[in-house]
């Protein structure tokens, strides 16, 4: 999977905090395995990964991680129900062809899903479009419109709406500033949607839906 944020590692510590020790984790788009390794070292998790690039897979395998070459769009469907406690999609949702299907599959494979993504509602993005009339290019979204892998960008608000549609429950949500730290004040959603450069959500499968 393409790691598209300029500092994709920034959200890893935040994600790792959300994972219960000794759980089973599937990291979709695991890159070079940094998160899986962090989770193995700090949380003693039984981790698995999916990664598109051959180099990424090789890096992971060399680290002793169990990683399969593939991607979220085509390979999640092959995983059995409830195979994992957590399914993680870090900075990849916006690059999937079918984000809704990817999320549905994640919540089928794991009871919980952790998703991080760049927030297209951030004020910097809005400013560029509103005042310069250009497709935004920011630290988080560094590619030009014609060569970006991000084909399904969304705002925090858009994301929350989709989660509600899917019947999942938001256990935890955080907007992250440009340094990857959670914005630590209570604010209504619209403020987060304006101030967060990235967002991290911990979702739990809704009881009625599988």
């Amino acid at each position: 999977m393409n790691k598209v944020a300029s500092n994709p590692r920034l959200d890893l510590a935040v994600i790792a905090d959300l994972v219960t020790p000794a759980s089973r984790v599937l990291d979709v788009g695991c890159g070079d395995g940094a998160l899986l390794q962090l989770l193995a070292q700090t949380k003693n998790v039984d981790g698995r990964g999916i990664e598109l690039s051959q180099k990424g897979v090789n890096d992971c395998v060399a680290k002793g991680l169990s990683v399969i070459q593939g991607d979220a769009d085509t390979d999640l469907v092959d995983y059995p129900d409830d195979g994992f406690d957590y399914v993680i999609l870090s900075q990849t949702l916006q690059a999937t062809r079918h984000p809704r299907e990817a999320l549905r599959n994640m919540l089928r494979i794991g009871r919980r899903a952790i998703i991080s993504f760049p927030n297209f509602g951030h004020w910097r993005v809005r400013m560029q479009l509103a005042f310069r009339g250009r497709m935004p290019v920011t630290g988080n979204l560094s590619s030009s419109w014609h060569d970006t892998p991000n084909i399904h960008l969304c705002t925090i608000r858009d994301f929350v709406e989709l989660i509600e549609e899917l019947g999942a429950h938001i256990e935890h949500g955080a907007a992250l500033n440009r340094y990857g730290s959670p914005i630590r004040f209570n604010a209504p959603w619209w403020v987060w949607n304006l101030m967060g450069e990235q967002a991290v959500f911990l979702l739990e499968r809704g009881e009625t839906k599988k």
Binding site: R48, V61, K63, G83
Partner: protein, 390 residues
């Protein structure tokens, strides 16, 4: 090393080949899936490197259809490097300075292990078609006897490509507690209709040769060389990708500037295939070819588990690394993905890489840097988990 009562050491005494072998006598007969009984059973094998004191660094390499026990070093018959020269040796992924490597000729083979060219104890004549039809599982059973004989309880790794990969899968399914890690490469959990079809063409070519003599050619002092060569030629095409053939040969002519308007080998590809066929009959027994191809055809691992491949690997603790090559159309990536799917469903620890190469099925035998890097990484991490010293 406990299980077997004094297998008879038979250090090359009955074989013209230098090398190691062990013979299991009638009380340790190999009972085959097809209801046959093979006794005595000789297994010819090679080892590379040293077994450590903890007996924890043994790797079993499983050879492909027409391979043999000579994975490294110089092959005593052909004078060429061993079949996995790219991977086996000091400092290579299967590091002979670090691991104890075992490679045995499969039962049914023709490089020293008991096969259709061996003497049938009941008749004192070559078995020929009276040799029991063996399966991949029979091959693995025989290998397990050898491993017992060598005093190895748990293999650090079982690795192999193509038919060797089938043996790896069978090992993982039959003896999960004896396999710490497994590398099935360019292989499938079952033979497809297309795979069977190509094998049948090869077998029919052998049987159509008048010198085959219903499989009794050895007693009559002839060999079905033409038939076997044709079988090899057709099979060899399946080991290569079209792109590789095109790049290497195209429509280039062989030592001539114009076509001869005859059936000579005008094209380089014709000359190449004829050479492959001729070189093959020098080292391979025709009946053996029938038996090993048949073993592949019968391979359908899921069939032993109610048709559900995942059950073959249920609760396995083995670490897997599955490798496919994108230009391999004989055992395509989809076959490997089916294996990965089943392993995932069983919650196994599995890695999977599709290596980009235009060299087709044979890529696993060739120098492919990404494949070598993957293997090295997987083995090193497994070695760390196993507590093997550098």
């Amino acid at each position: 090393m406990t299980n077997f009562s004094q297998p008879r050491q038979d250090q090359a005494s009955s074989s013209p080949l230098a090398g190691k072998s062990v013979t299991f006598t009638a009380d340790q007969a190999l009972l085959t899936d097809g209801g046959g009984r093979i006794a005595p059973l000789t297994l010819a094998y090679e080892t590379y490197g040293e077994l450590n004191n903890a007996r924890s660094n043994a790797i079993l390499l499983c050879h492909a259809l027409t391979g043999d026990q000579y994975a490294a070093g110089v092959h005593p018959v052909t004078g060429k490097p061993g079949w996995w020269e790219s991977m086996v040796g000091p400092g290579k992924p299967f590091d002979t300075d670090r691991y104890f490597l075992i490679c045995s000729n499969v039962v049914g083979g023709c490089m020293g292990s008991t096969g259709p060219a061996s003497a049938n104890a009941a008749t004192n004549k070559p078995y020929g078609l009276d040799f029991p039809v063996v399966t991949i599982r029979d091959m693995v059973r025989a290998q397990a006897m050898l491993i017992d004989h060598l005093g190895v309880d748990t293999l650090f790794c079982v690795a192999g490509g193509s038919m060797g990969g089938m043996q790896v899968l069978q090992w993982a399914a039959s003896y999960p507690q004896r396999v710490f890690s497994a590398m099935p490469i360019a292989t499938a959990a079952k033979h497809s209709a297309q795979n069977i079809a190509f094998h049948e063409v090869g077998r029919q070519a052998v049987m159509a040769d008048p010198d085959w003599r219903s499989g009794r050619y050895l007693e009559q002092g002839v060999r079905p060389e033409k038939g076997l060569a044709v079988a090899r030629m057709s099979a060899h095409i399946t080991y290569l990708s079209e792109a590789a053939l095109q790049r290497k040969f195209g429509r280039k002519l062989q030592d001539r500037s114009a076509p001869t308007f005859s059936f000579d080998a005008d094209f380089q590809i014709e000359n190449y295939l004829r050479h492959q066929g001729l070189a093959f009959v020098e080292r391979f027994d025709a009946n053996s070819y029938l038996f090993v191809t048949r073993a592949c055809d019968y391979f359908d691992l899921a069939a032993d588990y109610d048709g559900v491949l995942a059950r073959a690997f249920k609760a396995t603790k083995t670490r897997f690394c599955v490798v496919a090559f994108d230009s391999d159309w004989l055992y395509p990536t989809s076959d490997s993905r089916a294996i990965v799917h089943a392993l995932n469903a069983g919650g196994a620890s599995v890695s999977f890489v599709e290596i980009q190469s235009d060299k087709g099925h044979d890529a696993f035998l060739l120098h492919e840097p990404m494949f070598i890097a993957t293997t090295r990484g997987f083995l090193e991490s497994a070695a760390t988990a196993r507590g093997l010293k550098k």
